[in-house]
Symmetry: C2
Subunit: 366 residues, 2 copies
């Protein structure tokens, strides 16, 4: 393997695949990037087994071959080199890197220690608008569980049906559902939420307005310009989340999302994490009072709101409400509640573009 | 104590005094800010005993008084309030803070638990140009020891003599000396380097081009606009550092500071911290080869240089050289060396505006 390319193109390719490099693994090859020279192109691949990213750049190749290098060391070296032509060559199991006055020799691993990403069989193909897909990911993926032991709850369900794409994620305390019109065949896949978040970052870097999602039984594949992303789907059934959405409410509040977020963030200053970040909402005619207290003091926030139905006192983990208010873009937003121990829905003032459900925290009487 | 002021002026004052708030202390008052309303002004004071900062802002005072509040909580609250008029009042040992729809009640400590900063007796007064002083601090303070047990080595010696101000700091492995013309009486003070660094940050925020340093036997005081900074001087004798500067050299190299820094940073990628970040310099006619190696690989960097005297192979902790190259502003810089085990000087190509001394690391023969 012997080739030359610009430092800039190599940096860009490393940054693309870096997102799939394993940080916690006992398999040395998974901390690496596979470099593969073929047909005058360099293919770079990284994989943590759940997510694999492969990208390619134009190079001046003298001979083909492949090798695995440590991603961190290789990235650090290339980023620190001057912006010039970089020459790379595999010599006796080491990678020789030279650029102007700099010469590096770094240890490598054989290419066959790297997992084979393979191709995904095109059983299904779904075309997606990039911006819509990114927006749906932003609106839902934060609500998935981050506890690896929670299985399917670490995933985000992508459901294509009735010419609509709906994403849903939940962690047992809160749920996020967002949807957008999207013509196509009916299909359901469960994708790790963590990986959807990485995918959204990759989508930021591409010019194309549409992407294709290729699916087989176990994997999803996305092509973006020169980059191919392969995702291992989560197995298992996703919870029948529609069944847990309350159909009725006794109290409805319409409020400025921004004012509500600011007030909740201030109230959180005295809501301690050890106590579930507990804030208390008292809804009366035309007003929401948000309060919290700790041994350091107490706070009361009053926001004017359009209220309907019963007065209500209800407690929440402030984080679950502010997470929602941070991702919605509407100026005004509706809260629908039954009583102090039933789930609260957060929705657009009209329409059903998104639905959030947050379980309340029981609060003492006073 | 009862007053009102703008949120913006309060934020600015908190940010100024914040730099003196103790982070590690068992004395609760030192984690706080003293608020003192007097003569229609609010005085804010923070102190970690070594460094005390007091600033004042214009307010609408209704009644005078003073109280200590937790600096972190108070700062977080004020920063999160809307940009409007904030009303503050001490009621039964709590501080009541209100701003539009927000009402906070936070616990306070009595003002008499806060250390008395007092005034510094004006035994000496030295006028300093702000930019020159900041530059001298930047060029030297990084070389002081950060080990609190090292006593006077954690300080930076400020020496006024022969119409010149010279700052010097050293940690046993390297030394930094920088000087500038400054007419005035002869005087020596030893100031904790950590505090000089904080002082330099405060100097960034002021408009005045000159500052006055007031000195008594134990303390230094600086006035900047509405802000007063009191610094506890270090006691003990500073090492006679001029005696350890070699008078002669056998090898002299003039090199681009930027090229040298870039090469050293690349070479450091394979110089492990556990091994003193060891880099090897081989100086031959017109060239410096910088190299390092670890189990991950090796690197060689070649830079053209103007060389004089003997060829030399010498080892360094790369951090001690790069720290110097990061603070000097000259394009070219001179290295003067005796042999592989004697101190290396880093100086301007001509003049003696700064002198750095770095001890070499013994390297094996091959």
């Amino acid at each position: 393997m012997k080739f030359a390319c610009t430092q800039l193109s190599l940096i860009k390719a490393i940054s693309t695949v870096d997102k799939a490099v394993s940080t916690r693994t006992t398999i040395p090859a998974l901390k690496g990037i596979l470099l593969n020279v073929k047909d005058n192109r360099l293919f770079l691949t990284a994989s943590d087994l759940d997510l694999s990213i492969e990208t390619a750049i134009e190079i001046q190749a003298e001979s083909e071959g492949s090798v695995v290098v440590n991603a961190k060391l290789f990235g650090d070296i290339i980023r620190k080199l001057p912006s010039a032509i970089v020459k790379l060559e595999e010599i006796n199991g080491k990678l020789f890197i030279s650029c102007l006055g700099s010469e590096f020799n770094i240890v490598t691993l054989p290419a066959d220690e790297f997992p084979n990403i393979g191709m995904v069989n095109e059983l299904h193909k779904i075309n997606l608008n990039k911006d819509i897909f990114k927006d749906l990911i932003k609106k839902t993926s934060f609500a998935a569980s981050i506890d690896e032991k929670k299985g399917s709850l670490t995933g985000c369900l992508m459901q294509f049906s009735d010419n609509c794409l709906e994403l849903a994620a939940l962690d047992g305390f809160r749920m996020a559902i967002a949807k957008a019109a999207l013509p196509g065949e009916n299909k359901k896949v469960l994708i790790p939420a963590r990986i959807l978040t990485e995918l959204a970052k990759l989508l930021n870097d591409i010019d194309a307005s549409d992407i294709s999602l290729i699916l087989d039984e176990k994997r999803a594949e996305v092509f973006m310009d020169e980059t191919r992303v392969v995702i291992r789907l989560l197995e298992g059934e996703f919870i029948r989340y529609k069944d847990i959405i309350p159909k009725e409410y006794k109290t409805r509040v319409i409020v400025s999302a921004k004012e509500m977020l600011n007030s909740i963030e201030r109230a959180s200053l005295l809501a301690k994490e050890g106590k579930n970040n507990l804030i208390r909402l008292e809804i009366t005619d035309g007003n929401i009072e948000i309060s919290s207290r700790s041994e350091e003091g107490n706070v009361k926030e009053n926001i004017s709101a359009e209220t309907e139905g019963d007065n209500l006192v209800i407690g929440f983990n402030s984080k679950y409400i502010s997470d929602v208010l941070k991702v919605v873009s509407d100026d005004e937003i509706a809260f629908e509640m039954g009583n102090a121990v039933s789930a609260c829905l957060i929705k657009p003032v009209s329409g059903d573009e998104y639905t959030y459900l947050v379980l309340p925290v029981r609060i003492s009487a006073n």
